[in-house]
Symmetry: C2
Subunit: 333 residues, 2 copies
């Protein structure tokens, strides 16, 4: 009985030899092409199984021009806001036997384009989340990245699918909610100035200029930013705070608790995203909820369409859903 050279990788040739057929036939069988005689197919399958044959991914990629991999590029892999989409993408892609390659730009905004390109070259398509990349740079990059779908941020480019969030709408909902509770003077813990979604939120506030008294406090996008901002918040004499996102809001909540400030008794707090933790803190966090998992799934649908030469489904902009929880209440002043 034919035996493969020990220690070396088993190739399609080994299987062909064992089964007494050509490599082409083995290939056909492995790929489920129906044009093969049943008895031969069985023989090939048996041989493959006996040798524990597994096709070389690299060789297939080269021959087919497809890697069966999609990239997921985000600014920070530890940010919970990106996890839902990552999982949605990963699970959806897995159904078509695609895998996800992750890339963390580690907040180095300058290297983002290079990293995106680098990642794209190993994949068939890309999901790009680049909230801080300058618009013109992004636009220049897009053609080189295609097929690509944009997450959470518009590039003003019709031809690349966008899965966006209407942050301004979320701001309006949150503010309306707070105003309904009697709040007038509200602080906004702003995200990174270079963040496109921060700009969107600010537009939302802009449209409400008459309804409330807004205090803008420069902050950031992370726990520690929210935590550090507590002092300024208290000094600002507001009755409610809207944080750039849930992570920031939770950072603030923690600091307020340490300082003995009652939430929502003395201060109401709200965020964006509805990360999994938001529902379980004490008090639970009021937030403008974003369907993260779905974002990832939809991203895959669009990628899949483009990979098959079809036109991707419509771009969509989700309107956040207000989820009122314990962290917001009647204005105290």
């Amino acid at each position: 009985m034919a035996r493969q050279k020990s220690g070396e990788r088993i190739t399609i040739g080994d299987v062909a030899a064992l089964a007494g057929v050509s490599r082409a036939t083995v290939s056909r069988v492995m790929n489920g092409l129906a044009t093969v005689d049943r008895s031969i197919a069985d023989r090939v399958l048996a041989a493959a199984k006996q040798l524990n044959y597994m096709p070389s991914v690299a060789a297939r990629s080269l021959a087919l021009g497809r890697t069966h991999t999609v990239g997921y590029v985000v600014p920070d892999l530890t940010n919970p806001a990106f996890h839902g989409a990552m999982r949605g993408l990963s699970l959806a892609a897995a159904k078509q036997h695609y895998r996800v390659l992750v890339a963390d730009t580690a907040e180095h905004a300058e290297e983002e384009p290079i990293l995106a390109i680098e990642t794209r070259r190993r994949c068939d398509a890309l999901v790009l989340c680049a909230p801080r990349m300058p618009q013109d740079e992004l636009l220049r990059l897009l053609p080189e990245l295609a097929p690509v779908v944009l997450l959470n941020r518009d590039a003003g480019d019709e031809s690349t699918p966008l899965l966006g969030i209407d942050w301004a709408s979320g701001v309006r909902d949150l503010v309306r909610h707070l105003v309904g509770l009697g709040h007038r003077r509200i602080a906004y813990l702003a995200g990174p100035p270079s963040s496109a979604s921060n700009t969107d939120r600010l537009k939302g506030f802009e449209s409400l200029r008459d309804a409330i008294d807004l205090v803008q406090i420069p902050c950031g996008a992370m726990f520690s930013d929210g935590h550090a901002a507590a002092g300024q918040v208290l000094d600002s004499d507001v009755t409610a705070v809207i944080a750039f996102n849930d992570v920031v809001a939770l950072g603030l909540l923690g600091a307020l608790h340490e300082l003995g400030v009652q939430v929502p008794g003395q201060l109401s707090v709200a965020g964006f995203d509805d990360i999994p933790f938001a529902a379980f803190t004490s008090p639970a966090l009021t937030t403008a909820s974003v369907p993260q998992l779905e974002l990832g799934e939809l991203a895959w649908q669009r990628l899949w369409a483009m990979l098959n030469g079809e036109r991707p489904e419509h771009s969509v902009v989700f309107r956040p859903r207000l989820v009122a929880r314990g962290s917001t209440g009647q204005a105290s002043d």
Copy 2:
């Protein structure tokens, strides 16, 4: 001037033609081999730049037998406990121009082995986090997966590097801490019965049988599990609870808050992992802290060594560090 066929991929041949050299020379230049004449190298570089040439990843993989990718297999991509290690791995690997392919087993324990193998075939090495895989199955799998490093769980196999956690030690620290605060009757919200690390924790409790009065409550590994366990915890008449992990602990905290139970006034709560949120909840969570990010970095070091045919650094078992925060206090009863 030579012009590449429009629309098609630019290959090493195009660059060679433009520079007037052989493909071999281009290859040498692109790979930084010093044995090339300076002027020729410059010409090649210029040609490559002009054509915006980028080597085909698939072709290199096939020729080199290396994908420059490592896999990261976890049960649930949304579990914060895995994010730190993922980022540590990703960032460390990036320095050697390696990328990370993620795979989410979606809690389907049965498919875990297949998924691991499938993932491994696209990569040069694997970081495997398979807390629920039966020991014998894992042992059988390991040779097929090598080079591989195990995260958070021992397989009893000397030859595969392990980055583990001494959960029993963490249990002891937590219990000692609680006993020091006057607690005697303590509940343990157990993780999934099939979880190896749950078994480890139970061993820790076992060794303390005389010191405390332990109430074991079947629970799980997720928010909702902790949240749902609140009733049983209260019925059990304990003064302190140690949860399977921080996520469970936070779920419990949320439920207790809803029920108006004071923490730590009426009940002390502690967890494992020290996920980023733990420090920012109210009250902040006492926990047995695990160096997640470092785990990922060390995993990469070991993988890197093995990829270079070297012997990997020692396996290490981290002893969790007790981080006492607001969620634990003097026993009330």
